[in-house]
């Protein structure tokens, strides 16, 4: 997960800095972890700036009879201020106040609440209270806040919350803002299969174009095991859905996110995807090859190429030949790591003579350092695939 994860971080950061996302486009060069750390640093700074102001009031809220505190929270104190005071209260004290507040008020406080505090507080709230709060946040379409808290819920509560989220499009929005990959897996696991299928089918619906990257995000954020499960499920939906995924990935240039997903698919699904006519289009293959090279994804790419038939392999060879020599070094290294020499040689033989010579020269460097058995194996492959020698005329 790279480009999509960066996009999610930029949206969250733009919200904090109160600027349009487009103004933060220059930050797209940063890794999602760097953006996330930066976002947390800003949040911590903003919180610590105001923190000392509330200590005195929190002491009073803690000391006064409960009904007075509840009255203050309901009528005098703004949600932001209540969230700041909550930092100084014990979870039990916070709960004693929260249980008397309407869902709308708690939802308003939740927007500003420290997630560490919220985790403990959520364990005190009943499922009914949590679903009511979610309902309010859904009406406000505040998916960022829901995404933040959904990841803290138990399976049983999460299932109930998922039930009140009627639209799969809303589920995708929520999943997009969940902070940790494990928690997205968790959400996908508790959802009924038909809801996941419906969510995947959004990608074929032009009316929901803006949501397509979020479908791709869901597929790329999850664990490897689930990637295979969900990817295979997408393949089962048929060629139009996979074509739509390819089109969306190409339009938004998200191959660096999708290549690892394709590499995770079952053998049958990979064979199906790797040989789709849509994937043989020159501009698409070029984008895939460029993404593989830019993001060091040749190990995944070679797995996919392994399933490709002649026509697709020709297109890959042509695209590789158009990039500088460095790409050949990257491919050679990935071939060594994954022991994918056969497919690499088959691609090499389809390249122009001068590129074959460059490949040979790179391989010569490797072969000097390899054990005799591997040396012999590569030498045989060089012969079998008739790769042109690095020395012209020989």
């Amino acid at each position: 997960m790279t480009r999509l994860a960066v996009q999610a971080e930029i949206i969250k950061l733009a919200r904090i800095l109160n600027v349009p996302e487009q103004q933060l486009a220059f930050m797209q060069v940063l890794a999602p972890e760097n953006l996330r750390q930066f976002r947390f640093a800003i949040l911590e700074l903003l919180q610590s700036q105001q923190k000392s102001r509330f200590r005195h009031l929190a002491t009073w809220v803690n000391w006064l009879p409960r009904w007075i505190s509840i009255f203050w929270v309901k009528h005098f104190l703004e949600p932001f201020i209540v969230a700041q005071i909550a930092v100084y209260l014990s979870t039990e004290s916070s709960y004693r106040i929260a249980k008397h507040l309407p869902a709308k008020t708690i939802a308003a406080i939740a927007v500003y609440l420290d997630p560490r505090l919220a985790r403990e507080l959520l364990s005190y709230l009943t499922t009914h209270q949590i679903t009511d709060i979610t309902q309010v946040l859904l009406e406000q379409r505040d998916f960022v806040t829901i995404g933040r808290f959904v990841s803290m819920l138990s399976d049983a509560v999460l299932q109930d919350v998922a039930q009140i989220v009627e639209n799969e499009s809303d589920l995708l929005e929520i999943a997009f803002y969940i902070e940790s990959r494990e928690q997205i897996d968790h959400l996908v696991h508790v959802l009924p299969r038909e809801r996941i299928e419906k969510a995947l089918l959004i990608i074929g619906d032009p009316a929901q174009r803006l949501l397509w990257p979020k479908v791709l995000a869901l597929m790329s954020y999850i664990s490897y095991g689930l990637k295979q499960e969900l990817g295979d499920l997408a393949v089962q939906q048929g060629e139009p859905v996979i074509n739509a995924i390819i089109q969306a990935t190409q339009e938004d240039q998200l191959w660096e996110d999708m290549l690892p997903v394709v590499a995770c698919l079952s053998a049958h699904a990979q064979d199906f995807v790797a040989n789709l006519p849509a994937l043989r289009r020159v501009e698409i293959i070029q984008s895939i090859v460029e993404a593989a090279d830019r993001c060091d994804l040749w190990a995944d790419m070679l797995v996919i190429v392994n399933y490709m038939q002649d026509e697709a392999r020709e297109a890959v060879a042509l695209a590789i030949a158009q990039i500088d020599e460095q790409v050949l070094h990257h491919i050679a290294y990935a071939s060594l790591l994954r022991s994918q020499w056969e497919v690499t040689f088959d691609i090499m033989r389809r390249m122009p003579i001068d590129k074959q010579r460059q490949c040979h020269r790179i391989l010569d460097g490797y072969m000097q350092q390899l054990d005799p058995e591997t040396y012999h194996y590569l030498d045989t492959l060089l012969d079998r695939y008739q790769i042109q020698s690095s020395v012209a005329g020989s």
Binding site: I16, L17, N18, V19, F26, M27, V29, L30, A31, N34, Q37, F38, A41, I42, L45, L46, Q49, Q50, S52, R53, F54, R55, H56, L57, W60, W72, F76, L77, E78, F80, I81
Partner: protein, 71 residues
């Protein structure tokens, strides 16, 4: 891309109360972008402060004394 000027990066780290090393990745941003980020962060802090003062002003006078002025 123009390399970031170290002082802009230092200013950003200073604003966030973080060591410069923790923002190492940001050195690939241009000086202009880092300056904008510094400015935006300053503005965000000021805005938050103003919003907070407005919020406190809306609180009934008999509760206002419970808030400590910002140090």
């Amino acid at each position: 891309m123009e390399k970031a000027d170290k002082t802009e990066l230092e200013q950003l780290a200073q604003q966030l109360h973080r060591p410069v090393m923790s923002l190492k990745a940001f050195s690939q941003l241009s000086q202009q972008d880092l300056a904008w980020l510094n400015q935006q962060l300053r503005q965000t802090i000021e805005n938050e402060d103003q919003k907070m003062n407005q919020r406190l002003y809306q609180i009934p006078f008999f509760l206002r004394w419970l808030f400590k002025p910002k140090s």
